[in-house]
Symmetry: C3
């Protein structure tokens, strides 16, 4: 996804006001410890990821001094007291421009119907038999498969990937920046540029005015055959398994992973960084606060098994009448 040319490590260190005791080299992108390769810079600020630090392939890592000892041999330390804040600042450098100066004519397959007032950005590729209704925006380097229908006033940000036989209803937003900031000591919020994208697999349908945020690094992915209702929020870096069902006004927090055939009832929600097992059902209004196993039905907030919730409600009903 990284479209910029590489940036010198000395330049980066200088930009962040950090010392880099090493020879200069070219850095291809900023990414997580896990995703990083020999050409990338990464960061470490949460001990939960200590194992990733110990095994990272990154060229250089932003981190606090006391963790330098865990770096694999040869990885360059970029030492800071606030590595997360530095990462946010650095993300600005790796942001690609919204609109290319070097325009590549989009490629549009046979038999497409594209109404007036549709904008298609540089380098985008659209399959065969695609319908795009008026007022929709297709950013740059977007890929859309065949037989997909894009209803009016849909917005697809740069670099997103939409499969075949997908239906995006009016007002859907795919690829807007996730809600991610680093916070300064005096309470300001520094934007973390979202360098990842969104991938929507084949046979997915997304209801009107739902929003799917792009990943910080990597990808927010909605897998094959999943159906999403209206006004649903899917945060950055979520992964929704195949054939899941997300009913209206539900919200998924960042980096949450749903298995296949998960059902989330209306106005349900999840906290971030958790996983929901295959074939789990969350009843309407359920609020998932920690990882749960599949093949069960859950309710309530905090979440519990549905039969426990029913029992609790029955008891409360009695209790209120005592």
């Amino acid at each position: 996804m990284q479209l910029n040319s590489s940036i010198g490590l000395k330049f980066i260190a200088n930009f962040l006001n950090i010392e880099a005791n090493c020879e200069d080299c070219e850095i291809a992108k900023l990414t997580t410890l896990k995703l990083a390769t020999h050409e990338d810079v990464s960061f470490f600020d949460n001990e939960k990821y200590l194992n990733d630090l110990k095994t990272t392939q990154a060229k250089a890592v932003l981190l606090k001094e006391e963790f330098v000892k865990f770096l694999p041999n040869g990885v360059i330390a970029l030492i800071s007291k606030e590595p997360y804040l530095k990462m946010a600042e650095l993300s600005q450098l790796f942001k690609s421009s919204l609109i290319s100066s070097d325009i590549k004519e989009p490629i549009i397959g046979n038999n497409c119907t594209i109404l007036p007032n549709v904008y298609i950005g540089s380098g985008s590729k659209i399959g065969e038999n695609v319908t795009i209704l008026a007022g929709s925006f297709i950013g740059e380097n977007v890929t859309i498969g065949s037989n997909t229908i894009i209803y009016p006033n849909v917005s697809i940000y740069n670099n997103c990937v939409i499969g075949s036989n997908v239906i995006l209803h009016a007002g859907v937003v795919v690829g807007s920046d996730g809600f991610g900031y680093a916070h300064t000591k005096d309470g300001k919020h520094i934007k973390i540029e979202h360098l990842g994208n969104v991938e929507i697999e084949d046979d997915v349908e997304i209801g009107s005015n739902s929003t799917i945020d792009r990943a910080v690094f990597g990808v927010t992915i909605i897998k094959k055959g999943t159906k999403i209702d209206n006004l649903v929020h899917v945060a950055h870096n979520c992964e929704i398994g195949e054939y899941s069902i997300i009913v209206a006004q539900s919200g998924l927090s960042g980096s949450t992973k749903l298995g296949r055939n998960v059902i989330m009832g209306g106005q349900s929600a999840t906290a971030g960084h958790l996983s929901i097992g295959d074939f789990a059902t969350i009843a309407a209004r359920g609020g998932v606060t920690k990882s749960i196993e599949g093949k069960k039905t859950y309710s309530g907030f905090p979440l519990m098994e549905h039969r426990k919730w029913l029992k609790l409600q029955a008891k409360l009903s009695k209790f209120s009448q005592e």
Copy 2:
């Protein structure tokens, strides 16, 4: 609403891989047992509707073998072990095309103000003194009454009907497909095409980015003088009575019926297929799980009368301090 020409019954049976022991005849549309006339095909898959089956006027009905005996005389049985799934497949056949090849110039009344970048589809009729701001999409065969204001980036799907003195705020979506699928044994979701429409009566106002889904069959209707706030979801086949008030971020599930002057507080919700009596008030966050009578105030989830909810909260407050 059915704009396609009719389809032969033998063709339908063949398409669904079903036997039809009868002479061929023309079928006008697919619809419910109740709405069907002598020229229509319908389906039966829920014993709740057994009375409708016994009295249907349909020409032919998709159903399981054991219910054939309830069919009125002369109604043709289309026997399947999965009639609901077959109905979903059949709905594809009756879907009209999004964009007509035969274009009828829209008719626009006197004294309308229509800004640039507005799309108005074939066959639509717009009354007098209507204002449509930039970026809005009016589909095909849409009717809009007089003195109505359509703010920017509104999307109105084909065949919807908007009354006079209506205000649709920016980003409103009217007529997107409801969230309806038939499920295969291996967990896939087959889209049920939404062949109905939305009707919004006079003097209705709808807040920004709210979404009103079209009916599967028949109509989703919002009656005269009702006011809907921002980010509200109204599902397929709902009926909202006159002069109701729906506060922001509320959600109505499918086929729910509100009486007149019903008030739904912010972030409230209803389950599907229930009815709320005239002049009922649902407090903010109330979750209506079964039909309720009018002229009362309700709260909570599960829902209870408001005074009972207040009592319960008082008791819980004490309980937490014990």
Copy 3:
């Protein structure tokens, strides 16, 4: 914000079918008792504002007969049994037209990138280095600061003010009418025209499909550095302090005031006309029903301090197993 020329008081009285025992004079605008100056008309219908009545600078006030005695010397009484309803009717007179007949070419700063299918209304002023993506609507007399990014299909209503370094994601609506009506005895809802606007200060970011309603009178304000996630609803006349964080699908009711660095978790909400102190945190799903002090964490609905909520949940968990 009031762009209409003034209206004669006798004309107003006649329009409202009210007697005005005074000489005629010109009225500049309709506004609150507090905001009114010697050229304005105001209204009184809630004893909570009795102090405002006693000290108002208004030229004339709509009110019930029994409150005339509280009017400061020289203020003209416009007596009605339904002053709130009369105010709603009067707001129609002071509404400015959506589209000017007298067109002033917008002023656009250096180095802006404005994609096709963008509409910019009469009299709007756009700073330097602003990016506006396709499908966005900028109404009349809108001001946008420098370095601001407006993503696709954003709608900004007339007279709103957007600061510098602001990011508005796709589908955001700024300045739609708030949800305000006066109710007749027979249950109809008379629209209160929203004569105020929205002001978004520098460094604010607003997530996709969020909606910010304009003030009835005065301004809905989002202060410097605040970050708002997707699908958030901010009602008329809210004030959100500097560097606050509003997570996805939260909703603020009318006239609510947040201090600085307030955090509202996902799907949280507030009732109207309350205030939240600086550095308060509302956990996800929290429902704020009365004013709360700052520097504390709250949860639940009804809201309580978070540690009390945790204790309650622990007790309920035990209780359900008894």
